[in-house]
């Protein structure tokens, strides 16, 4: 007997379903259920996943949702037609947009009436409208409800739903429902109200019920499921179960055949760009492109002309002119408002994008592959990402999009947050009744390092943390933690992806409010949007863009120079000298430990070297073992060879080693005769959701193509390895080039305008790899004078101050005073601007926003030392006065008490000042703590970071320093890289997994360490391979360490 399941919920119902849509589709196929309707709660969150999986398993995917109606339960609504789908999306959007996040979005009866067309209504399960009506008013209530549903949806669009889960109460409800259906001559429909794919997943459903109600399993009682029967059942099983109502089974087939809508055709249309009369979008784009090209390419060569014509023709053919114009419009908006913008990603492969000013890379000059951006065969929208300064300016652009396309015409893409190690450990522990202390501990031990040892399983982590896995409850806990992995937890907002639609976006996908005010988000993530052909523009916030912009303003103001980022002097030797020496702290993309370790070996001397450098230190090239061969070839240590002579044109620029995704695509095109579109398909197939089956198919296709081209088996193996290993984590060349531009700009500014660049960097922190303490010390080593925070001079932000000799110095801003709010700091600056403060008492009185803690911190860090006519006021004098100033003497004695500027307290010593600086600001502008102990260390034969660099390979040495970075990269086979800092610079220490196992506490815990070991000095890259480590008593200062967990 044939049967279709028309009422199912997936885990995308967020705590009301326990299986992924893919699992539901898979089990449906196994049970020979030919179609299924996914009706997630309050949305169509899981619909794209279900649609794609259903296609894969050969079943039909019907779409719908359970929509909550005030005081009437959850209405299961099935989509019959495209109109129905649009109505459902609008209905959900209407309810969601007026509802606070985390509250249940309720639909009103009149709204139901307004959006009923094209929808089919079922009477639902125990939470449905019929059960609610029967419970409230008995049979007459049910009777009235059915009349109401018929009047809203039409007689043929209402089905009386029957479910049988072995529950007496449910059966009595079924009997009442059957009676009412007969009376109103409505069709019966058997469903199983599926909440999970198989009976075992009922346990997760119970766990989710507990999380929903904030209860533990032991106390949840009847909130848990009655039994395990809400799983997918085969047609035979359902037929047996409903033997007394065969029509209820037959109707499932009949109804399924009526549901003609699928997500295949959403009716999505990208907005049309308004063009002047007499123009079409194509002609307008053409004009804008040629206008731009004439500025960009001087002169426009034949090659450029041909490429632009080719691109424009394809854009016209694919009807994408509107998309390019809209992105161009955004770029124009940024230009008008002085907002830095730069396109990244595959858009940099397009000469049209370059001509329109969207990207800053000349794809023709760099010989970039246009097909990576756009191809006819791929049948999908191109992807343009715009980098914007993070913060307010990016928000301005986002709000411009909303303003231009309407609140319901544009929205951010969602980000589906899933249960991962920590969240799973925490939530499952909560449900099993673990106390808060244990929960915190458990969640902190799961996955603390990026590197995952092959044996570093959850079991091992639990065992290591002292949990007894033989204990039944702990075993259950572990099991639940593993099973819940990757199930959706909640929906958040993607960092920058925006979807725009011609007409109303809310008829394509439901919209809901994001947590940030003024933001609207769609119910699908960026992959879902891409899979369903929704076009998106990524407006990404990049901290470095903000730094560049701020730097330009500071340079204009303090250096009196105008720097144009688009026309920076290229290939400046001093800039490349600095980069080659790996003196790159603060520079974009090339400041990490791994980048620093490869820079001297790559030895960049021109822009393209930076492009390769950016792409080189990526998981793809590293795991594909391409980094070392490339660097060796750069240094002439190994010959430049090619896997096959046909690949020479493709790999020549990267010395025979593929480093970019485009090369991968070209490899497939040349060796295996893939078309541009097929090659792009290959890249996608190897993407983040790769499957073994798909990999095998692709490999077979590749090998078949290569065999046809008479490429031998050994070379085939090499090419397959190239492709499969780095397709996942490699950079596209265009993307690397865009980043390299920013990297060069940051390096240029740091080398030429250190004060401005450092100020901008500190004002835009957090960003990048290093803590401000390190950035400040680096700037000081480069000759910049950094002045401490001073309430008489500092602004909220760090600023540039000329000193007595007219040299520029950096004044630390009040933003670095721990615990000081911007409101209080602004009030302080404003009061000071009107009339300077005369004493601490005056400051405390005139800026009431400063609390005791603020004043004490300001005093401790020396920021109040200049607040007196007495030039010898020290930090403790200020603290002494602060305690008095905050205990006001009352109106009677106001002003009568003498201000005693001196205190009986002794001045802070060096160590106390260091501790106060790091506690109060996280950094010191004075000497590095190690500097105070240098003499002592030198007598012990301990080398400084600078001295270490001069030691020969293979020597043994001991260094000492403050640990500023601990990192265990996923690609380093368990090795930990530790960076030590002293007053002369930084030194890198390599810690092997065995050494780590024996010295865990010293590696993880101590701030100052003494490390002895063997020097590895290769090609100017110096490491110390640790053979001994011990804590060092240098200072009690809480120096920050950036540990990459």
């Amino acid at each position: 007997m044939r049967y279709v399941e028309l009422h199912a919920r997936s885990a995308f119902s967020f705590l009301e379903g326990a299986s992924l849509p893919e699992t539901l589709a898979h089990i449906c196929a196994e049970c020979n259920v030919s179609a299924m309707a996914l009706l997630d709660r309050h949305g169509v969150y899981g619909a794209p996943h279900f649609h794609i999986a259903a296609k894969q398993y050969g079943i039909r995917a019907h779409i719908g949702a359970e929509v909550a109606v005030a005081e009437s339960g959850a209405y299961p609504l099935l989509v019959r037609s495209r109109t129905g789908y649009q109505n459902l999306c609008r209905l959900i959007t209407t309810a969601k947009l007026r509802t606070q996040k985390k509250s249940i979005a309720m639909v009103g009866p009149t709204e139901l009436q307004a959006y009923a067309e094209g929808l089919i209504c079922l009477t639902g399960d125990e939470n449905g409208p019929l059960a609610s009506a029967l419970a409230r008013d008995g049979i007459p209530g049910g009777d009235q409800l059915l009349q109401q549903l018929v009047s809203i949806f039409g007689h043929e669009n209402v089905y009386v739903e029957l479910q049988r889960h072995g529950d007496r109460f449910q059966e009595s409800r079924n009997q009442a429902a059957v009676g009412l259906a007969r009376k109103h001559r409505l069709a019966l429909l058997a469903t199983n109200g599926v909440c999970y794919a198989t009976p075992t997943e009922r346990q997760l459903a119970d766990v989710f019920a507990c999380l929903r109600h904030k209860r533990k399993l032991d106390t949840a009682g009847k909130l848990l499921a009655y039994n395990s029967q809400r799983h997918i059942r085969s047609g035979e099983r359902m037929t047996r179960l409903f033997a007394d109502f065969p029509e209820a089974i037959a109707n499932t087939i009949e109804l399924s055949s009526r549901l003609e809508f699928t997500l295949e055709n959403l009716g999505y249309e990208f907005p049309r760009y308004p063009v002047p009369d007499g123009e079409t979008m194509d002609s307008f784009l053409r004009k804008r492109t040629w206008d731009g090209a004439r500025c960009r390419y001087r002169p426009v060569s034949q090659r450029v002309r041909a490429q632009l014509e080719k691109e424009l023709a394809l854009i016209e053919k694919l009807k994408l002119a509107g998309y390019f114009l809209i992105v161009w419009d955004l770029v124009c908006f940024c230009e008008r408002n002085g907002i830095l913008v730069q396109g990244r990603g595959s858009a940099a492969n397009s000469a049209v994008c370059y001509s329109l000013g969207i990207t800053a890379i000349d794809p023709i000059g760099m010989d970039l592959l246009f097909e990576r951006f756009l191809s006819e065969e791929r049948g999908e929208w191109p992807d343009i990402d715009l980098d914007l300064p993070s913060g307010d300016e990016r928000e301005k652009v986002i709000q411009y999009v909303y303003e231009r396309y309407g609140k319901r015409g544009a929205a951010m893409t969602a980000n589906v947050c899933t249960y991962r190690g920590r969240s799973a450990a925490r939530e499952m522990g909560k449900v099993l009744g673990f106390d808060e202390d244990t929960l915190s501990r458990l969640s902190s031990i799961v996955g603390t390092w990026e590197w995952r040892d092959p044996n570093d399983t959850m079991e091992r982590q639990f065992a290591n943390s002292g949990l007894d896995l033989s204990h039944p409850q702990i075993a259950f806990y572990l099991d639940l933690c593993q099973r819940v992995q990757n199930l959706p937890h909640h929906l958040s907002q993607h960092s920058g992806g925006m979807v725009i639609c011609q007409g109303q976006l809310d008829s394509v996908v439901p919209l809901e409010p994001a947590t940030m005010p003024g933001r609207v988000v769609v119910q699908w993530d960026k992959d879902d949007c891409a899979a369903l052909g929704l076009i998106k523009v990524d407006l990404l916030g990049l901290g470095m863009m903000a730094v560049l912009k701020d730097s330009l303003g500071l340079i204009r103001e303090h250096y009196g120079e105008e720097v144009d980022l688009a026309h920076l002097p290229q290939d400046c030797p001093d800039v490349y000298d600095t980069i080659r020496k790996a003196d790159t702290i603060g520079m974009f993309q090339i400041e990490s430990c791994a980048q620093m370790a490869s820079l001297p070996r790559n030895n960049p001397t021109r822009f393209y070297d930076l492009v390769t450098q950016v792409a080189l230190i990526r998981p793809g090239p590293i795991t594909g073992e391409m980094t070392s061969p490339y660097l060796n070839r750069r240094q002439g240590k190994e010959p430049i060879t090619y896997p096959h002579e046909s690949l020479i044109p493709v790999l020549k620029r990267t010395l025979g080693v593929p480093l970019f995704q485009e090369q991968l695509l070209k490899l497939a095109m040349i060796c295996a005769n893939f078309s541009g579109g097929e090659a792009e398909e290959l890249r996608r197939a190897l993407g983040s959701k790769r499957s073994q089956q798909r990999m095998r198919e692709i490999e077979a296709k590749l090998r078949a193509g290569m065999t046809a081209n008479r490429i031998d088996a050994k070379t085939q193996d090499q090419i397959v390895r190239f492709i499969s290993s780095f397709a996942l984590y490699g950079f596209p060349e265009s993307h690397a080039a865009s980043f390299a531009l920013i990297a060069y700009a940051s390096a240029f500014l740091k080398v030429r305008y250190l004060a401005a660049f450092t100020v901008a960097l500190l004002n835009n922190w957090p960003m990048g790899f290093y803590h401000p303490a390190t950035i400040v010390k680096d700037a000081q080593r480069h000759g910049l004078r950094v002045r401490p925070i001073d309430t008489m001079r500092s602004l909220w932000d760090c600023s540039i101050e000329p000193d007595e000799a007219g040299d520029l110095t950096l004044r630390m801003g009040l933003r670095y005073v721990r615990g000081l709010s911007q409101v209080a700091a602004t009030a302080l600056v404003s009061q000071r601007t009107n009339t300077p403060f005369t004493s601490i008492e005056d400051l405390a009185r005139r800026v009431p926003q400063l609390n005791r803690e603020n004043l004490a911190t300001l005093a401790r860090i020396g920021a109040l030392n200049n607040l007196s006519t007495d030039a010898t006021l020290h930090r403790r004098d200020a603290l002494w006065q602060v305690e008095k100033a905050i205990r006001r003497s009352g109106p009677l004695l106001e002003g009568t008490l003498e201000v005693d500027s001196r205190s009986p307290l002794r001045q802070m010593n060096v160590e106390e000042r260091l501790v106060a600086d790091y506690e109060g600001t996280g950094l010191t502008t004075g000497y590095h703590p190690m500097a105070y102990r240098r003499e002592f260390l030198r007598k012990q034969g301990i080398k400084s970071a600078l001295e270490l660099k001069q030691l020969a390979h293979g020597k043994t040495a001991t260094i000492a320093g403050c640990v500023i970075i601990r990192q265990r990269p996923g690609t380093a086979k368990g090795i930990i890289f530790m960076t030590l800092e002293d007053e002369t610079g930084t030194a890198r220490v390599i810690i092997s997994p065995d050494f780590y196992d024996n010295n865990r506490m010293a590696v993880l815990r101590d701030r100052f360490v003494l490390v002895s070991g063997m020097v590895q000095n290769q090609d100017g890259v110096v490491h110390l391979k640790a053979q001994g480590i011990k804590p060092l008593a240098i200072s009690a200062a809480t120096m920050p360490s950036h540990d990459f967990h």
């Binding site: 072995g166 009682g221 848990l224 395990s228 673990f434 002292g466 949990l467 205990r887």
Partner: protein, 509 residues
């Protein structure tokens, strides 16, 4: 003069107190960490100096400590600490009747008048130290003219100290201010000022201190100067409310027992009334004469506890309650000793509410309930109470209930709104049976020694739960009409899916 007895690392020492003396000496040399927290994730709560020298700190996890090797790990036992504190107070009491149990590991005694017994202060200190050592404590003693100076000296100096009257300020001067009782905020202020010792604190001008830190600042400064005088809060002698009577000849009759019981309860109540306290819980212990009969012992001690619904001082009510219990008690031997112990609490001060339902007096109700218990017993074989209010448990598992202590204050409201259903008389326990199936459905059920034909069946009704613990259950129910010699019977049968066994659960009226 006052002497402070201070036990450093009290928690560690308390945990070792029960060890034999030789073992204790050995153990003290090794690193010890006391762990606290859930069994799945214990953490270090306290350590001894050897452990601290090795780098073990409070807050570390067991796993972290284990990486050090050779560390003796023990679980924290609050009862051990309470018992150790009692030993410390008792030790102090042997030197002076006026003892203050100041805090865990600290006792202060008033030495006034004791010099005639023990000689000069040095002798007293030696005697205290010797006695403490014999008990198992490694403690420090400090003598001073006021309790707080003695306490600070004992905490701050690493050896026994005697501070002559008038020399407090100078002797206390080198101590770190961290030992003064103050908030972390205040400590932060002193830290910022660079004030690390008592001497530095006392050097600050007093007026300036008051201006900045108020009275608390001045108090701390006076403490550092050794100028705070306060009376001791002495330990109440015999604060336990226990009355006991040992019979010259073991008694066998209830009357004799009741007579003494009444007297003891009277004494207990009088003491409680004098202390303005009431009884919250009562313990009765009967020590029986041990008789050797046929190679076995008879006369195991008997004990019973009552948790009273409201605190009381009414001896008659208590007597009635205990007497009722004794009436239904059958003892195996005559009673040698009778003990009653009260848990004291503040008496209840409450006024009735005008709108509260009329209910029996709580005390009388308790007597009535005890009478009923005398008839039906305390609890059944499964440990469910026999007297009280039945309450359904919040679970899908059928027939799950508990019996709670009856209280007239929570009489359930009218629940007659439920729809009328046919009554199911439940067999407790359910009758184990066997069922023959026809496909999925029951065909014959074995009941009342016969094989009964099922001519109608409704089901299966499935339920399951508690899958996360050992009491996991799953059942499939059928409501069946059985042919019986009397005609037709309607029964509920179910299959326990875990035990794979059929049961008859009940019969429908």
């Amino acid at each position: 003069m006052f002497a402070c007895l201070y036990v450093p690392d009290f928690v560690v020492q308390a945990s070792l107190l029960t060890e034999p003396a030789e073992t204790r000496v050995d153990l003290k040399q090794s690193p010890i960490a006391i762990l606290e927290g859930p069994a799945s994730l214990p953490r270090v709560f306290a350590t001894n100096p050897t452990a601290r020298r090795a780098g073990i700190q409070a807050g570390m996890t067991k796993l972290q400590v284990e990486t050090y090797g050779g560390v003796l790990l023990r679980k924290r036992m609050v009862a051990e600490e309470e018992s150790a504190q009692a030993v410390l107070v008792s030790l102090a009491s042997s030197f002076s009747p006026r003892v203050e149990s100041t805090s865990p590991g600290v006792a202060i005694i008033d030495l006034a008048g004791t010099e005639k017994l023990f000689g000069v202060w040095q002798s007293t200190v030696r005697a205290i130290a010797a006695k403490a050592s014999a008990v198992g404590f490694d403690l420090r003693v400090a003598v001073s003219s006021n309790p707080d100076s003695a306490l600070l000296a004992a905490q701050g100096f690493s050896a026994n100290t005697i501070i002559p009257a008038g020399a407090e300020a100078s002797r206390l001067a080198p101590l770190p201010i961290g030992i003064l009782p103050m908030s972390s905020e205040m400590l932060g202020v002193f830290d910022g000022w660079g004030i690390r010792t008592f001497q530095a604190l006392t050097a600050l001008p007093q007026v300036a201190i008051v201006e900045r830190l108020g009275q608390e600042g001045m108090h701390l400064q006076k403490l550092a100067l050794g100028q705070i005088e306060r009376p001791l809060v002495t330990v109440e002698p015999n604060a336990e409310f226990i009355e006991s009577f040992e019979f010259d000849d073991p008694v066998e009759t209830l009357e004799s027992l009741a007579f003494i019981l009444n007297r003891l309860l009277g004494q207990l109540c009088s003491r409680l009334i004098a202390s303005s306290l009431a009884i919250n819980a009562l313990r009765l212990a009967l020590e029986l004469e041990v008789r050797r009969i046929c190679g076995g012992n008879k006369g195991e001690p008997c004990e019973h506890n009552w948790k009273l619904p409201v605190p009381t001082q009414d001896r008659h009510m208590l007597f009635g309650l205990v007497r009722l219990y004794l009436e239904r008690l059958s003892l195996t031997a005559p009673v040698k000793r009778l003990t009653v112990e009260a848990t004291p609490v503040r008496p209840r001060v409450a006024q009735g509410d005008l709108f509260t339902l009329q209910a029996p007096e709580t005390e009388k109700l308790e007597i009535t309930l005890e009478r009923i218990r005398g008839v039906v017993g305390d609890s059944d074989a499964e440990g469910v109470a026999c007297v009280g209010t039945p309450c359904l448990l919040d679970t899908h598992k059928p027939d799950s209930f508990t019996v709670q202590h009856f209280s007239s204050l929570d009489i359930p409201s009218d629940s007659s709104q439920a729809a009328p259903v046919s009554a199911l008389r439940i067999f407790r326990p359910a009758i184990e049976t066997s069922v023959e199936l026809d496909g999925d459905k029951p065909h014959f059920v074995r009941l009342w020694h016969g094989r009964r034909y099922v001519f109608a069946a409704s089901g299966p009704w499935s339920s399951s739960g508690d899958w996360w613990n050992a009491s996991v259950w799953a059942r499939q129910e059928w409501d069946v009409a059985l042919k019986t010699p009397e005609g037709v019977g309607f029964y509920r049968i179910y299959r326990d899916c875990i035990r794979q066994q059929w049961f008859v659960e009940g019969v429908f009226d």
